[in-house]
């Protein structure tokens, strides 16, 4: 099934665009979909995943305007949209 990602922060430049689509097995969780994105997009992999392949806690995941926990167990539906945000600061 298809999961659409909207990317914010440094992830955009790293992925080469504002959005990214991944094809994942039916019934995956948001975290699994994020891991699939990181695996298929070399530019964002180290920003999203730590050394053991877990999603870094600094990466914010949103679905339908709500922040998701990294241990959210709800299965995604095909065509759903997740927003990923990497930390940004001032200056």
């Amino acid at each position: 099934m298809i999961v659409n990602f909207q990317l914010w922060g440094q992830l955009r430049q790293a992925a080469g665009g504002t959005s990214y689509v991944v094809d994942v097995p039916d019934g995956v969780t948001a975290t699994e979909a994020v891991q699939a994105l990181a695996s298929s997009c070399e530019g964002v992999r180290s920003m999203i995943l730590d050394d053991d392949g877990s999603v870094r806690p600094v990466i914010l995941i949103f679905r339908e305007g709500r922040q998701l926990e990294t241990d959210d167990t709800e299965s995604l539906l095909t065509g759903c949209e997740l927003t990923l945000m990497s930390p940004i600061a001032g200056g």
Binding site: W8, G9, Q10, R12, Q13, T18, S46, M47, R56, P57, V58, L60, F62, G65, R66, Q67, T83, M85, S86, P87, I88, A89, G90, G91
Partner: protein, 245 residues
């Protein structure tokens, strides 16, 4: 009591419903810490000085560099090589000599953070490094002070407000560690830092006066490339090392 000179200066904003003389008096009696005071914090400070916040505490180290000038609007080109904080204090004083501006030629660090936060009612976090931001966050949570969180990157920015108590997350709930990919220098326009700086100033004004609804528990993001706006609910982590149970 507001003086006739103050009433003359703040007349237009006192016409805003809910402000009046009472709201202006709250601003006069209030104090705000801004750290740092560059492209983003400079606009926070400028707007709060204009609005008549009685005391601004500003922490910003270092000397002015040419690469600051495209966004740091409290600087002047003749000041390159000289302390930024001197230009900040001078420019704010030129705009509003009726307020107190305390310029600290240091960034937030372990030694000064408790004193800096302890001097004010509201903190606005504008620092470029997560080490500073997380330090400031820890201290504002410890002292029970609200912190307005402003950030930017490229043509994007976001803003939220961390309120004391259990209702909203803190910065460490969102970013429990320093992100390894973040760099001190990054792409941005001054118009982006200025926009989110003005919004941060408005959040501080709302917190002080009680007018409007602060962004507690809501992260407002904008991409100025297409003016796409996103508002997202953000939440506390129960296992947060700063504010968690």
């Amino acid at each position: 009591m507001l003086t006739p000179a103050e009433k003359a200066i703040y007349e237009w904003q006192m016409w805003v419903p809910g402000i009046g003389e009472a709201g202006q008096q709250k601003l006069k009696e209030s104090s705000v810490l801004i750290t740092r005071c560059g492209g983003l914090g400079g606009l926070v400070a400028y707007e709060l000085a204009a609005a008549g916040v009685g005391k601004l505490v500003i922490a910003h180290a270092g000397n002015l560099k040419p690469s600051d000038l495209h966004r740091q609007l409290l600087m002047t080109s003749d000041w390159v090589g000289k302390p930024r904080i001197d230009s900040i204090v001078r420019r704010l004083g030129e705009l509003n000599p009726l307020i107190e501006v305390l310029g600290i030629p240091e960034n937030v660090n372990n030694d000064n953070v408790a004193d800096l936060v302890g001097q004010v009612d509201v903190v606005v976090d504008c620092a470029p490094l997560f080490e500073e931001r997380l330090l400031l966050n820890r201290e504002t949570v410890r002292q029970g002070k609200p912190m307005v969180e402003c950030a930017m990157y490229e043509l994007q920015f976001h803003i939220t407000t961390f309120l004391p108590g259990p209702e909203t997350p803190c910065l460490a709930c969102l970013h429990p560690e320093e992100p390894p990919s973040w760099k001190r220098q990054f792409p941005v326009f001054g118009a982006v830092s200025g926009t989110v700086g003005c919004m941060g100033a408005m959040e501080a004004i709302k917190l002080v006066t009680g007018v409007g609804e602060p962004l507690g528990g809501r992260l407002l993001s904008m991409d100025m490339r297409d003016f796409k706006v996103m508002e997202s609910l953000i939440h506390r982590r129960n296992d947060c090392v700063v504010c968690g149970n």
